[in-house]
């Protein structure tokens, strides 16, 4: 039972990591809380549905299509809602992000109705892997973990080995200095949004597939939980985000299995953690030490 819950928690944790990495990178570069990130996750899941149902793409290509569509959406959100406000007060950007999130969520409700729909047939059979007598695992969850590892590996290689990756790191350290060194800051920001949105979209597709459910508000809770993961791990720190995602995934999964009859449901645990961390240790587990945020 315990091993089973932890295994489920790890799979869930990788979903949180994929969603949160984008948020961490955006915060690292722009010092901005990207509120519309959860909506991008939802856009990704719907894009995959369109790719499979209407374009008849195979599942692997549909995921890539979803990532590309979400990357475009992410860049568009940045252009429309965040770039004109750069240098303004953080609250102004946050409210602008909330506005975009509300708009897109409701736009999708108008287009696709607010009902939950089933994820289309992917051509990949869902099978159960029997690890030991009591511990089972579905191949979907295995794919989630694999996708998470591949995504993180590619991200690591990109940040360490390409010019653009190094430019992103430079901008995250000191944006003004980076721009003085000839880094095209606007392009760095766009690429950051692209990568983050693509990873979130991958998570969205996998979750929609795993639960066989697709609805316009599906991004709201994961998008908010991503804030918890980011704060838990330390703002702007990618290793911290990985640790934070796994911790949150495992804690939620354990509470799901072992705690019943709580006064709040399991989605609220993340916010309890968030508030405790902000009050007790605002720098998170791996972040640079800060007094207050």
């Amino acid at each position: 039972m315990l091993a089973q819950q932890i295994l489920n928690g790890v799979a869930l944790g990788f979903i949180y990591i994929l969603v949160s990495v984008g948020l961490t990178m955006v915060y690292g570069v722009l010092k901005l809380l990207h509120f519309a990130h959860g909506v991008i996750y939802m856009v990704g899941a719907f894009a995959a549905m369109i790719a499979i149902t209407y374009l008849h793409l195979p599942f692997a290509l549909a995921i890539l299509f979803a990532m590309a569509a979400a990357a475009l959406a992410g860049v568009a959100v940045e252009r429309i809602a965040y770039r004109p406000l750069r240098g303004a007060h953080p609250i102004a950007t946050l409210i602008s992000g909330v506005g975009v999130a509300i708009f897109l969520e409701n736009l999708f409700q108008v287009i696709f109705t607010s009902d939950t729909q089933a994820f289309p047939e992917t051509g990949v059979e869902v099978s159960v892997i029997q690890l030991t007598e009591s511990v089972t695992f579905t191949n979907v969850k295995l794919f989630i973990i694999l996708a998470g590892l591949i995504g993180l590996g590619l991200l690591y290689a990109f940040l360490k080995c390409t010019r653009m990756g190094i430019a992103i790191q430079a901008a995250a350290q000191d944006m003004r200095a980076a721009s003085l060194m000839g880094v095209n800051v606007n392009r760095v920001v766009s690429v950051t949004f692209m990568i983050g949105s693509a990873l979130a979209a991958a998570a969205g597709v996998l979750v929609a597939w795993n639960f066989n459910a697709l609805f316009p508000t599906m991004g709201a809770i994961p998008g908010l939980k991503a804030f918890c993961v980011v704060v838990l791990g330390g703002l702007g720190s990618i290793p911290g985000t990985i640790a934070g995602g796994l911790i949150l995934g495992i804690v939620e999964s354990l509470s799901d299995g072992f705690m019943t009859g709580m006064v709040v449901d399991k989605d609220a645990i993340a916010f309890v953690i968030l508030i405790l961390i902000l009050l007790v240790r605002p720098s998170g587990l791996f972040g640079k030490h800060v007094e207050k945020v």
Binding site: L94, G99, A101, N106, A220, L224, F227, M262, D265, V272
Partner: protein
């Protein structure tokens, strides 16, 4: 007296006034004191549930339970304000959002709030033996609203209001001028929350059935967009913002325009709110009737500030 007006119109006006109360409370917290709250619906819900639990489960008089709701919301909101001492600006917004979601989760799961079923058959307050319905209730809400506006005018024009505005402009300056920032920040959450609590109590005794669904993030976001549109730290601005954003969708419902499918009216409404929030932040961050000096617009100063911090928020 109850037949004086069409109950449907009365309902619209009552709910408009309830939103005004919510907006005024949020404007105190976000507009005057500069503490952004994305969890205003929690205060609204706490007010509603307190009054309902006291009157339905403990058999209190509706008047007494409504008054108690305001007091309880005042106290709980002060607790909700505590994170604002540690957390600033955008992180405060996320924290209050989290608190709001925790509160809603509590409403939906705890036994005392009726869980997912909510609580029904909430009594209406009665005056001289006749329960207040329609026009009577409208009068009650109007009186509460007038009292709320008068108190708000008094407060914001006094020492308290000036302290809040100083904190909003620059907390360090406020501290060095001898303003007890801890006290005033907690106070503004308590008072702003009490406004929302009053709104919640009035809402609950009007609709006679409440469930956790009525106090979600949608309400918080709606009220915030109303306040932001009308203008931060302006009472008239709040009136304008609430009236415009509340009445516009009602007009569509009232006159049954063929323009939009009524089934999706709420969705279109939220789309409109979203677009307005983006546009207002871009072109007029202080809102249509906001007062000068709100730091949201002070782009130049924040650019100067970032210089000292090593260029955090530039380019």
């Amino acid at each position: 007296m109850d037949d004086l007006f069409n109950p449907y119109y009365v309902d619209i006006v009552v709910f408009w006034m309830i939103y005004l109360l919510l907006g005024l409370g949020l404007n105190l917290i976000t507009g005057y004191a500069g503490q952004v709250s994305l969890g205003h619906a929690a205060f609204y819900g706490i007010g509603a549930y307190t009054s309902v639990i006291l009157s339905v489960k403990y058999g209190w008089n509706a008047w007494l339970s409504m008054a108690a709701a305001v007091v309880v919301t005042f106290l709980i909101s002060a607790l909700f304000g505590l994170p604002s001492l540690r957390v600033r600006e955008d992180f405060l917004a996320i924290t209050t959002l989290g608190l709001g979601l925790i509160a809603q989760s509590f409403f939906k799961n705890a036994d005392i709030t009726g869980g997912a079923y909510g609580i029904d058959s909430i009594p209406a307050p009665s005056l001289f033996g006749t329960p207040l319905k329609n026009t009577g209730y409208l009068l009650l809400v109007t009186v509460v609203l007038i009292v709320a506006v008068v108190i708000m005018k008094k407060m914001t024009g006094s020492r308290i209001g000036r302290a809040w505005m100083t904190i909003r402009e620059d907390e360090t300056v406020a501290q060095s001028m001898g303003i007890n920032t801890t006290y005033y920040k907690v106070l503004v959450f308590a008072i702003g929350g009490a406004y929302a609590g009053a709104a919640g109590a009035l809402f609950a005794h009007k609709v006679s059935f409440i469930s956790g669904e009525s106090f979600g993030f949608t309400v918080s976001a709606t009220v915030l967009s109303m306040v932001v549109l009308g203008g931060l730290s302006s009472i008239f601005g709040t009136f304008f913002g609430v009236t415009l954003l509340y009445m516009l969708p009602e007009m569509f419902r009232l006159f049954e325009f063929e323009l939009v499918d009524p089934k999706y009216l709420d969705t279109y409404k939220m789309m409109l709110y979203g677009i307005l929030m983006v546009l207002i932040m871009r072109y007029r961050p202080k809102g249509l009737f906001g007062k000068n000096g709100t730091k949201l617009v002070n782009i130049r100063r924040s650019a100067v500030k970032t210089l000292d911090k090593g260029g955090d928020r530039v380019a």
